[in-house]
Point group: C2
Chain length 401, copies 2
């Protein structure tokens, strides 16, 4: 089997940890696998380099930031290859460029445009373990680019896709994806399997494991991801294509997002395009709107509700104040949170939503906003009820069983 391993900053955060990553990789090789290992910078290194750059400029050139930051992953890649060689394994370190990763020119947040796996294929054929510096590629000009937050995961998934690897194992300091946050609900269980779509909706549960961008790419390239811990031998969670027999499982997990603020705009002039104008204005200010709810209109006006990250609420206010001739009143609440019930099984079971509403009502938790997709029901509630709501929903769907 050809397996891609990816180790994040914490997993390679010290020389001792790099050593133990080498041991883990060696073991996988001994089991007869071909291996490509993608590594992040040692934890703390990237922040140190950012600090250096900020000494000179509050707004450093993104092209030069990419050249600066890409050095951290190269250091780890070289060190891990050396550690493997010392153990007697034939290993070779590669930069993103050498691994054939081509990107567009959006420095600091580049998108992978293609991978030329020729060199990697040759080295695998020669029996070598390849260690790739994650998070980076080069653009058409040959300048170094980086892929943004979670970029090493993206490198790993893209390489797994280009090399038709059997699995892409993402190692971090958590051992998989849980039915909900174990700090909130100690009865949370690690899932053996979660589908790409569920994982995307459960983003907050997987935030420490991998970013949605990587899940989307894995879905597109049909790369099987395994989220595992680099500190244990636990099995981990497989993230893959939805299985036919999964219909039995209605709900997979409960996600919680505390970083939500609610905005309600009342008596919005019910003329075509007004909502578009408001959200365009918000987007122009780089405000990230999450849920949007618009009630059916009556008496010529409508109410519009949406949520934004809590630290963007003041900027959102300023934008909306610019529309004061088009709206009646505004109402803000930054002490709310979003609780979501996720599961591919709920597509065909309308009862899932009713179960959630009933369970929360029993606890006297008022639901301020509701938004549903095919596999998710999200509810905005007062933040003080966050933990209670999570535990209640986890319990009512019997996720601990």
């Amino acid at each position: 089997m050809l397996i891609v391993h990816k180790y994040g900053g914490t997993s390679v955060g010290s020389l001792e940890r790099i050593e133990s990553v080498a041991t883990r990789v060696a073991k996988a090789k001994d089991q007869g696998n071909d291996l490509i290992v993608v590594v992040s910078a040692m934890s703390g290194e990237t922040n140190k380099l950012i600090g250096y750059a900020e000494h000179f400029s509050q707004n450093p050139s993104k092209r030069e930031m990419d050249m600066l930051l890409s050095s951290g992953e190269r250091v780890t890649a070289a060190l891990l290859a050396i550690a493997l060689q010392e153990k007697g394994y034939d290993a070779i370190a590669m930069s993103g460029r050498q691994a054939g990763i081509k990107t567009d020119s959006t420095h600091t947040y580049a998108r992978i445009s293609s991978i030329d796996p020729t060199l990697m294929k040759n080295e695998i054929k020669a029996g070598k373990i390849i260690v790739v510096a994650g998070f980076q590629g080069i653009n058409e000009d040959g300048s170094v680019t980086t892929l943004g937050r979670g970029g090493s995961d993206l490198s790993a998934v893209a390489i797994a896709g280009a090399m038709s690897a059997d699995a892409c194992e993402i190692y971090s300091d958590v051992d998989g994806i849980y039915t909900t946050d174990p700090r909130v609900e100690p009865k949370a269980k690690k899932m053996d399997f979660v589908s790409y779509d569920e994982m995307l909706e459960l983003a907050s549960l997987g935030a420490k494991v991998l970013q949605n961008r990587s899940v989307e790419l894995a879905k597109k390239l049909k790369v099987k991801i395994v989220a595992k811990s680099s500190f244990s031998d636990a099995e981990g969670t497989v993230i893959g294509e939805e299985k036919k027999d999964m219909e039995a499982v209605l709900v997979s997990g409960i996600a919680l997002d505390r970083n939500q603020a609610r905005v309600t705009i009342r008596e919005v002039a019910d003329r075509p395009g007004i909502a578009a104008e408001i959200f365009t204005a918000l987007a122009d200010e780089q405000i990230n709107v999450d849920m949007i709810i618009q009630n059916a209109s009556s008496d010529g006006t409508t109410n519009l509700g949406f949520t934004v990250p809590q630290n963007e609420i003041n900027r959102a206010k300023s934008v909306i104040e610019g529309f004061d001739h088009d709206i009646g009143s505004m109402d803000f609440d930054d002490s709310v949170c979003k609780v979501s019930v996720v599961g591919v099984g709920m597509k065909s079971h309308s009862g899932v939503a009713a179960t959630a509403f009933t369970a929360l009502a029993k606890e006297n938790i008022n639901i301020e906003m509701i938004s549903t997709s095919e596999i998710k029901i999200s509810m905005i509630i007062a933040e003080k009820y966050a933990e209670l709501a999570v535990r209640t929903l986890h319990d009512v769907y019997k996720l601990d069983v």
Copy 2:
């Protein structure tokens, strides 16, 4: 004018120093010059990375070491470019690869095979200041290579050659080349000019400024080097082609090499090839032989003398013991030093050597070995006389005038 600046590790050893390098570069740009700046890693960085590698292996793979070590220069290049941009200058950072530096595959000590200056020419034409990560290039496979000790100087000289730059200014913490070591002879004077050949022979005087490899390359490419201090505005020393009117100057400087041990082999069998056998055996053990003296033979045997670095004397002994059937006796002395008188003017003045011998004799300094080249007279003397010999010779040739 197109000028290449090169800043060593001490000159970019902290963020504050990088800032002051930026100021110096900006000033040169303001004076109407086009600029390419070659930088080393921040002092201490390279040793830190070597320490990391040694944690894993006492003999790490050279290819991976190159990938590891090349990251330090990239960091400096990116930071300096950011500092220049912040001052309002259009600057662009380049790795060795982006600067078009191709090398052979001798990892950790690669030789530059060619430079493709296309990208640099375009950026200079666009008015940009180019900041190049020194010490590195890529080989035919696209693997990163490094150029060995003094590699950033080599990068700078090679770039200056490929770009037909008007000068290559090498900045360090000393302000030029002196007639002798000022710590030994306080009357030592900074030279305004020294020829390539003299500089090669004065290697020990320029050791902190630039390696002979760079001087040789500069001579080959006819690159004018200026050795300057990055901590002052002093004029520096020009290293260039021998001038016609230089014949007036007999002696340029006095070099001292304390790291010498003398080996004398007596009654060497005078058969063809015996010297070759001995020196081949020494070379096979990586022992660096410096001076070699063989006296004309008499009575069927000859005496052979040579010097090696002091810390290699024991290994040299072992090698020579293998020849005990071919030699009479051996004699070792590791308390010697080499004093050299250098000057292109001495080519046509035989009296220069006599002056040196006479001056040392007057001080009762016994000369154990003598070796001469066209522009140098080297003498091995007891190490305890090192300073006295340097001062005596500096004085007799009136180098302080």
